[in-house]
Point group: C2
Chain length 215, copies 2
């Protein structure tokens, strides 16, 4: 059964795409245009009642929320492709921990920067300078913790690439690209080496080459 992934050009669905490539699971993508409100149409809301991306269909099984989907496939195909969960229960706990950190500490300030810089620019507007400054400071503190952590282990959850690292790919890609804040990564030695490592994985390059950015 080929997995259907909705909305491949956007950031969160790319978490799912890179995970499926790492797990060697076949998929096809279905475009959803947020700009024309396709995500608010009744047929989409039947799949994802909050109107968010991504959502997947795998036979008659429907699942949404990118971090739930990547957990599902990492578990379902544990022994196929790259192991993204860790070998021991304790390693798996740390993968979950850093996946939560990505969601609650890392993504919110990056998302603010994406909205204020990248989206504003697309609409010909100027972003809110106060929000930009505060978000950058907040993100800097989060990355200081990452720098310390990555000075002790090659990846966030330990010496193995996992869902926790993978989950950072889409929004860090915005950060170092269209948002123009690459220095936040580059000025931290271990964070920079980690980013070079994870962003050069063939799976991620393929996702970017195939699906690009929304605008």
């Amino acid at each position: 059964m080929v997995v259907k992934v909705y909305g491949p050009v956007y950031a969160s669905p790319k978490r799912v795409l890179v995970c499926l490539l790492e797990k060697e699971v076949e998929f096809e993508t279905i475009p959803v245009d947020l700009l024309t409100g396709e995500n608010r149409r009744p047929e989409f809301l039947k799949l994802q009642p909050f109107g968010s991306l991504p959502v997947i269909q795998d036979g008659d099984y429907t699942l949404f929320e990118s971090r739930a989907i990547i957990r599902y496939y990492a578990e379902k195909y544990k022994s196929q492709g790259t192991d993204l969960l860790g070998k021991t229960m304790e390693d798996q706990g740390l993968v979950q921990q850093w996946l939560e950190v990505e969601a609650h500490n890392f993504e919110p300030p990056v998302l603010n920067l994406v909205r204020q810089i990248m989206f504003s620019s697309f609409y010909g507007l100027t972003g809110d300078k106060k929000v930009i400054k505060e978000s950058e400071e907040k993100l800097g503190k989060v990355l200081d913790v990452y720098e310390d952590r990555l000075s002790k282990s090659k990846y966030l959850a330990g010496d193995f690439f996992s869902l926790a690292d993978l989950s950072h790919l889409p929004f860090t890609n915005y950060l170092v690209g269209p948002v123009g804040k690459e220095h936040l990564i580059k000025e931290r030695k271990h964070v920079s080496a980690w980013w070079d490592d994870i962003s050069s994985r063939p799976s991620w390059k393929k996702v970017l080459d195939t699906y690009g950015l929304p605008f």
Copy 2:
């Protein structure tokens, strides 16, 4: 080994406490006073570098982020106490999905209401009426989705109590209590029945009776 749980009077650590009770895992609690900044002290930051609660110590294993901790114990003691993960891989995927919905759709507007109403009142301030109105509207829409979902299955992930339901306990308890927005739950028949069911579990009653609220 008795699990040490830091900061039992606060909301997020209560997710961990109720989970450990459901899983019949022995624990002890260590108070952390956020009002005096105990969470910013170096010895605490060694355990949780972001200065957030909760954090647990289980022998020499340290883990933070409440939803990572509850996943870890639900998995580690899968066949002990209440099964909080679901039987099939697909059920487990839905548990993860609704746990993410709780984190990303449900908690943010509730947290705004907690800050603007409960915390403001504690400090003798008046909350921001615009934020309160917007958060209540946002939460109402989320609860409309819950109402539809809970008209089809007894609990969020299916006909079994899971981490997804459990994770709602601490902040919904604020919402119907000190925040004074019980009507948002009561005016939705299925959400109301679900709340009555999950909040009357002996594990949750014990957590509230033993650790109360922070102020």
